[in-house]
């Protein structure tokens, strides 16, 4: 691109519906070149639809998107020269070997035969697949398949990489490995858009996070910014007996800057607080005054779980059908700084 300051990815008002289901309801996105953006949302939020539109696999019903300056509908072919796509459904050919897959992709990217072979070797080595190079991809483990998929998407070193839930279903070790690979790519200047259901993943990798739910962008910002919007720190209290939850809730409300959140099965009450350590001392006094026995009490920085809960009124990993009225909750928590 001529202008290095121009955003790598730019989308305005993206809409898409499948029959009666609205998958995207006006999504805006701007991703700076050389950064990593995490699109965060529960299953069915519209994450994959965003990726499919940006990678030219899908035409939006409304809105426009530009990738590296090219329109994803009118200049789709030019876009495809600049992107790589890897995802949760590792798009590898199971009946080809690891090497066979990479050589085929190299050829389809129009590398000369020798170059495609050399590149395949290089990628196999870099992704730790040299040993398994001559085995059929269907014999690969989940982590190996995902690495092969990522390797395939890097065949021509695209400046922009799309990763659709790159670590969903991976064991912790493979997940950590994948994170390192992604971080290395960004280090080398690649722009990455990744979708994830894991707050930890977005928190750890992304420069910018876009929270989406039901086809709409709920919030955009750096992990720190998003956490700051939930207001200061959080105080977690775990009470000893079930019948003490209500008493404890009343006590905690007095130190809270917003409505307490209660997780009954954990006997845990969480409140955002503004005054940090002072609130902790105050909380201990209040609980003690009511003779509530506590198992644990801790002050912590807000996590993206707290952010997501505040934005949507439910936890990110909760099923869609559990959705409570998100707006009510948000209004309450914002206006509840009693």
């Amino acid at each position: 691109m001529a202008d290095p300051e121009a955003p790598a990815i730019e989308a305005e008002g993206l809409r898409k519906r499948y029959g009666k289901t609205v998958a995207l309801d006006g999504v805006d996105l701007t991703i700076k070149s050389g950064t990593i953006c995490g699109v965060l949302g529960p299953n069915g939020a519209g994450k994959t639809t965003v990726i499919r539109i940006l990678t030219t696999l899908l035409r939006p019903d409304g809105g426009t998107a530009r990738v590296d300056g090219y329109d994803t509908v009118r200049q789709a072919e030019l876009v495809r020269y600049r992107i790589g796509l890897a995802g949760q459904y590792a798009a590898v050919d199971e009946l080809l070997t690891g090497r066979g897959n990479l050589e085929m992709i190299g050829r389809l990217c129009h590398l000369p035969r020798k170059e495609a072979q050399r590149r395949a070797d290089e990628l196999l080595h870099r992704f730790g697949l040299t040993e398994a190079a001559e085995r059929l991809a269907k014999t690969y483990s989940g982590g190996m398949r995902r690495r092969l998929d990522l390797a395939a998407s890097l065949t021509v070193e695209p400046p922009i990489l799309f990763l659709d839930e790159p670590t969903t279903g991976l064991d912790p070790r493979s997940r950590a490995g994948m994170w390192t690979l992604i971080a290395d790519l960004v280090e080398a200047g690649t722009t990455v858009l990744l979708t994830t259901q894991y707050l930890e993943e977005a928190d750890r990798l992304a420069d910018q996070i876009v929270v989406i739910d039901a086809g709409k962008v709920l919030a955009t910002g750096s992990p720190t910014e998003l956490k700051a919007t939930t207001g200061g720190e959080h105080l977690d209290v775990v009470v000893h007996r079930d019948d003490e939850i209500e008493t404890a809730r009343a006590a905690m409300t007095r130190v809270a800057s917003a409505r307490p959140r209660v997780e009954r099965h954990l006997r845990r009450i969480t409140v955002p607080v503004t005054s940090g350590p002072a609130a902790l001392i105050e909380a201990v006094r209040e609980l003690d005054a009511r003779s509530v026995a506590i198992d644990d009490i801790s002050l912590r920085r807000p996590t993206l779980d707290d952010v997501f809960l505040r934005l949507t009124g439910r936890l990110a990993d909760a099923d869609q059908s559990d959705a409570t009225t998100a707006d009510d909750d948000r209004l309450t928590s914002q206006g509840a700084a009693q």
């Binding site: 790589g84 590792a90 080809l96 085929m104 389809l108 990217c109 998407s153």
Partner: protein, 283 residues
């Protein structure tokens, strides 16, 4: 990271010529991929090998005794008919392969690459043509064993086989289209069989059309399968039962009619399929 300066982003083709070259190159890459699938799962070939053998043997030994045709041996009449029927069935399996490819994750990978998209379909039809050729060789050998012979020149016989391959290629595009418009491989198989079974029987494949009822006979005589079978019989010099002046035009000029059919099917269904593939990709 990678060795700097060794890899440059490929550029889109600028000229029509360059685009054509890449269409061919990409199609060959996909063809090679499909053929290496067969190497991994040779059972895929049962359809195109065992099935024709069984058809030749069944008809040659079960029906041959009961069916008599004027002016020749029934087996000599039958074998070219089975060639054509098998060509249709083999090419029909393309629908299943296309449908399977569409459901595999690899399709998303192909569509996100800077490759020529129609190469996915072109490569499929070319690799399936190899299957048809294999099937034809097996049937010819089988035919020779049960008593079928070529009575014309070598050139004419080769023309006959070439015509059958052209036919196979044209039919595989029809089949490709079926694979793209049906939902899933099972549906594709169902539709293909529902069309092909009656089509191959309401024809002169196994019996001459004279004996058919007045309603069915014109259908059978205009059926491309009849033209192809008659053309194959003509080119191989096998008995073809021609009561003068009675037959519909395609059966009077079977070779021309077959090529016309192939051209029409190819043009219509290749454009439909490619158009559909581009749209299906953007669903």
């Amino acid at each position: 990271m990678s060795v700097p300066g060794t890899l440059v982003l490929p550029r889109p083709p600028k000229t029509r010529r360059a685009r054509l070259r890449w269409t061919v190159a990409d199609s060959l890459t996909i063809t090679k991929r499909n053929l290496s699938h067969i190497r991994q799962v040779p059972e895929q070939l049962i359809d195109v090998t065992l099935q024709p053998i069984m058809l030749v043997l069944l008809f040659a030994y079960v029906f041959a005794g009961a069916i008599h045709i004027p002016g020749g041996d029934y087996r000599e009449y039958l074998v070219p008919g089975i060639f054509v029927q098998s060509i249709f069935f083999t090419a029909g399996s393309t629908a299943v392969n296309v449908s399977l490819d569409m459901t595999r994750g690899i399709n998303d990978r192909f569509l996100s690459l800077p490759m020529v998209r129609s190469a996915v379909l072109l490569g499929r039809t070319v690799s399936d043509l190899f299957e048809s050729a294999l099937s034809l060789v097996i049937m010819a050998v089988c035919g020779l064993i049960v008593g079928w012979r070529v009575h014309t020149t070598l050139g004419s016989a080769l023309a006959g086989f070439a015509m059958l391959l052209v036919l196979a290629y044209a039919v595989s595009w029809v089949s490709t289209y079926v694979g793209l418009v049906t939902r899933g491989p099972e549906a594709a198989t169902g539709v293909t069989m529902a069309v092909l079974l009656p089509l191959t029987f309401v024809a002169n494949t196994f019996v001459p059309t004279e004996g058919m009822p007045a309603l069915v006979r014109p259908i059978a005589e205009w059926n491309p399968i009849s033209a192809a079978a008659a053309a194959a019989r003509y080119l191989f010099g096998n008995p073809s039962v021609v009561p003068q002046g009675q037959l519909a035009w395609p059966l009077q000029h079977p070779v021309i009619a077959t090529f016309v059919w192939c051209g029409v099917l190819l043009v219509v269904f290749a454009s439909l399929a490619i158009h559909r593939f581009h749209n299906a990709a953007a669903r």
